[in-house]
């Protein structure tokens, strides 16, 4: 039936159809083009529950536990489930005030009202105990267990290192880590992170809108199991390490002990140290900040990172290179009139002793004049075109002892040390404008030279081995005690033939027997050692001593540096000797020496004695 406005039916249907068309287009867009909704749907329903594996334990070389895991308890809250309750009671239990309580609930609410948030991290066991009894009163709160590292005895903090929450940068670089995960930040925890951490597992669970679990996704087809971290057996001797730290009480410096026949580090002491338990749990950030601003830099690992001029200890190296280059024989004698003249009224001084001396005696009594002569003959060796060439060759030989480079072992953060390059002197004095006399301080291990305590101990081990060293390392075995790493089983030979070492070993023996290191003598053991005094332009000289023992078939090589303690013989030598005694006999008989060493205090020595 036609009416006046009959044609309007088309307009009306066109509007209806247009809306239908718009909706289908919209559906086309959100269902087929825009993929973000699919992801959101998965995020809604799937919860990827990470199963954290237990971190591997760390033992010493004898199977003594150094690091283990302890459960801590985090108080979690699901805001949706929180009902009216006695907030004051809860606040009192965990030691917060009312406004903190409110702000934390708000923060959790902002994150999600259905999902759990941290309310209070790492409750103490006592708090947990009290809380557990009352938890039924606090609807919406529950306690979640996690583990933190614990240290049965507070030793080897620098070496063991610590773990902490992974940084945002790391999570970007390495997809294994998610925000909030823990990662090794320093020490063994860092270098063996992948071994210790194990592999996280993931369980895919489905949840409804009320956060109620609805079972696993496809019967766990896509779930993965967590693999526990592997245990580590370090090369450390816990007793020796502990003893070393005790000896270093109130001293700044370092003790490093190495087993020469393997390169295994027996003790790695940096002083002042800190209790590794301080960097664990809820007290961590506060303590870390305190340690960081401490003037004595307790976080600084001196054993690997402090660089000292080695002083007279370096005469051993010059002696060996001299012998190798043929500019020196064990019988070579130089007289000493109280110093080595540099011309123009300048000289390198020496202390009063008998003269002249052969090589062995020169080392034993640490004659400066002798080694200035040796160094000069090395530099003026006719086999080379000029001093610079001789120097380049000498430096190469020195570096073959492991100086001026990292060992690239399993200890992170070690530093190179420094043996100045020829280019450095070219720059400093001008090309071809320097001779042995300009750099004579290298003869006696002073000047621009920098060596770390670990490198010094390695020198002792190299001499003990008569010409080679195994890369010093800190981990002996992974997983099982008898599954020993073979990575560090190669001998690193020095540029000096092994035939020349016997003389130097004898010299070191004589040093302790009748020379400057007599104080290091140990009854029943032939100790070989060398004293050193590192010049310190900032204050009192550092006391240096390296040693190994027994002379035949050495079991332990030690380096000791005590900052501001003066002559090497006074403090470094007896401490090295005590370390050797402790390691070889497991017990120290010289209690008086031990006591005087422990009681010695060099913390506040600043002024240099004039």
């Amino acid at each position: 039936m036609k009416t006046a406005f009959s044609n309007r039916k088309y307009i009306i249907f066109a509007i209806f159809a247009l809306v239908g068309f718009i909706y289908i287009s919209r559906l086309f867009y959100i269902q087929l083009i825009d993929q973000s909704f699919k992801l959101s749907a998965n995020n809604n329903v799937f919860r990827y529950i990470t199963e954290y594996p237990a971190r591997g334990l760390i033992y010493d070389r004898n199977g003594k536990l150094l690091v283990y895991n302890e459960a801590v308890y985090d108080l979690m809250v699901v805001p949706k489930l929180v009902k009216s309750m006695d907030t004051a009671d809860l606040c009192k239990l965990i030691g917060i005030n009312d406004s903190t309580f409110k702000s934390r609930i708000d923060k959790a609410r902002q994150y999600s009202i259905y999902r759990p948030s941290f309310f209070e991290k790492q409750l103490t066991v006592e708090t947990y105990g009290f809380l557990q009894e009352k938890l039924y009163k606090f609807s919406g709160f529950y306690v979640q267990a996690r583990t933190v590292r614990k240290y049965p005895s507070p030793i080897a903090a620098h070496t063991l290192g610590y773990i902490g929450e992974v940084s945002p940068e790391t999570t970007l670089k390495n997809s294994y880590y998610k925000s909030g995960d823990y990662i090794g930040i320093s020490g063994i925890e860092k270098s063996y992170e992948e071994v210790l951490r194990g592999v996280k597992g993931v369980k895919i669970k489905m949840y409804d809108v009320f956060n109620r679990e609805k079972g696993s996704f496809q019967n766990g087809k896509y779930d993965t199991l967590a693999e526990p971290g592997k245990n580590l057996y370090t090369t450390l001797d816990a007793d020796l390490q502990s003893y070393g730290e005790k000896l270093m009480t109130n001293k700044i410096g370092s003790i490093v002990a190495i087993e020469p026949s393997t390169g295994e580090i027996l003790a790695l002491v940096s002083s002042p140290t800190y209790d590794p338990n301080l960097l664990v749990g809820r007290i961590r950030s506060e303590n870390y900040a305190k340690l960081l601003v401490d003037d004595l830099k307790p976080l600084f690992d001196r054993a690997l990172m402090a660089q000292y001029p080695p002083g007279s200890v370096f005469k051993l190296v010059n002696g060996l290179i001299g012998l190798q280059e043929g500019v020196l024989t064990p019988e070579t004698r130089y007289g000493c009139g109280g110093g080595f003249s540099l011309g123009g009224g300048k000289s390198v001084g020496c202390h009063i002793h008998s003269s002249p001396n052969d090589l062995i005696h020169a080392i034993a009594i640490s004659c400066n004049t002798y080694f200035c002569n040796v160094f000069r003959t090395i530099m003026n060796d006719k086999d080379f075109v000029n001093t610079r060439d001789s120097y380049v060759n000498w430096r190469k030989a020195v570096m073959s002892f492991g100086f001026n480079k990292k060992f690239n072992n399993d200890l992170p953060n070690e530093l190179n040390g420094n043996i100045p390059s020829a280019e450095y002197y070219d720059k400093f004095f001008g090309v071809n404008r320097w001779s042995a006399y300009n750099i004579i301080s290298l003869a006696i291990g002073q000047g621009e030279i920098g060596i770390t305590p670990l490198q010094l101990a390695n020198l002792a081990a190299t001499i003990a081995n008569k010409g080679y060293y195994y890369t010093p390392h800190i981990v002996k075995a992974v997983d099982k005690k008898n599954y020993v790493l073979t990575k560090y089983a190669n001998k690193n030979y020095t540029a000096v033939d092994n035939t020349y070492f016997a003389t130097i070993v004898e010299a070191m023996f004589q040093c302790v027997e009748m020379g400057t290191g007599r104080i290091a003598q140990l009854e029943g053991v032939e100790v070989c050692g060398k004293t050193g005094t590192a010049q310190n332009p900032h204050g009192e000289n550092h006391s240096v001593f390296i040693a190994f023992a027994p002379k035949d078939n050495p079991k332990i090589a030690v380096s000791v540096i005590i900052e501001n303690a003066g002559y090497g013989a006074t403090y470094a030598a007896p401490i090295a000797s005590l370390m050797i005694e402790k390691y070889l006999f497991r017990k120290v008989k010289r209690l008086d020496v031990e006591a005087s060493m422990i009681n010695a205090n060099f913390m506040n020595v600043i002024k240099k004695k004039k």
Binding site: L27, S36, A41
Partner: protein, 419 residues
Amino acid sequence: MINRKNILHNTDWILVSLYFAFVLMGWLNIYAAVYNENHKSIIDMSQAYGKQLIWIGTALLIAVAILVIDQKFFTAFAYPIYGFSLLILIIVLLFGREVAGSKSWFRIGDLALQPSEFVKFTTALVLAKYLSAINIRMQDIKTKMSAFALIFVPVLFVLLQNDTGSAIVFLAFIFVLYREGLSGNVLIFGLLLSVLFFLPLLFDKLIIISVLIGIGAILFYLMRKHKKDLIALVTIIVLSVGFVYSVDYLYDHVLHPHQKQRIDVLIGKQTDLKGAGYNVNQSKIAIGSGGFMGKGYLQGTQTKYDFVPKQSTDFIFSTIGEEWGFMGSSVVIILFVILFYRILLVAERQRSVLSRIYGYGVVSIFFIHFMINIGMTLGLFPVVGIPLPFFSYGGSSLWAFTILLFVLIKFDSNRLSVS
């Protein structure tokens, strides 16, 4: 002559088939929306799908009853029926039950009824009755006023019940009036108003006014020969500018906070996905994650784990989108458009003006529900709580839509016997 013994004589089977198809699909999706492993039995009366079965059964009885009753009952008593429904609205205002902020529910035993759903039918009927009377011309001011009054009175009561959603539905009758001769400018004016309402919320007022005046100036230049229209143009521009300024007032003082929030969510001013925007966002996630073929019946994770609130009622379309995908949801939309087309066709073939106008009333009401409800699940419309015809869970709406449609089918079956 008609065969009085066969009530199904001349019944439009296409509309009836569409009705059954919608109701069946509706029930299947309600079952999916409230599906729960613990209540698998389809006739579990504690669950929405179980109750909906009762509503469907009773709706069918009502449909049969309508086909049996003489159509004169509806045409002759259009005014009393309308009056009675208004009375019920007043009673509900006084004694009704408040559900979700709207005082629009009656509770009789276990049955909850929402009278405003039925008023849509009675208004469509009375409007048809009024406009089909002899000597009525849409062009007359008196006709317009009376028609608007007939629509406005129930709107007023529904607004008093705080049921904005149902009130908006009555805007549908503009299509009816338009078909019967109301100036097309009304549609354009309505569009202009809604655009002018949203623009000031999104853009700076000065920009909008500059653009308005710019457009006005161009039109002024183009229409400079038609003096009469120029006055209208200037009036419209001035009114528009005034309206732009009053939007803030309307927005701040007339709208309720939750209504403001819903508008903010729609225009993207508020992206609080945990608060006011939660429903729409979860609905979009459900539909969007359905993809092309959907996740499969009863497999929708958004649906199964209750991430979409009000899913069996206002947000039922999100279940369709998630479980049946682009295929399924497009089919539903196309079926609705087919329904609209069929009703328009049926309306236009009526000899009786009353039947035709009533047919337009029915299709307009269906359309506005369709547009607002699906638009809201797709994030194209503010959240307005009105059901999707035949799909959404709820007895009142199902009954009301059944009555609307079957009265038309009844009229249509008699189309040849009426002069």
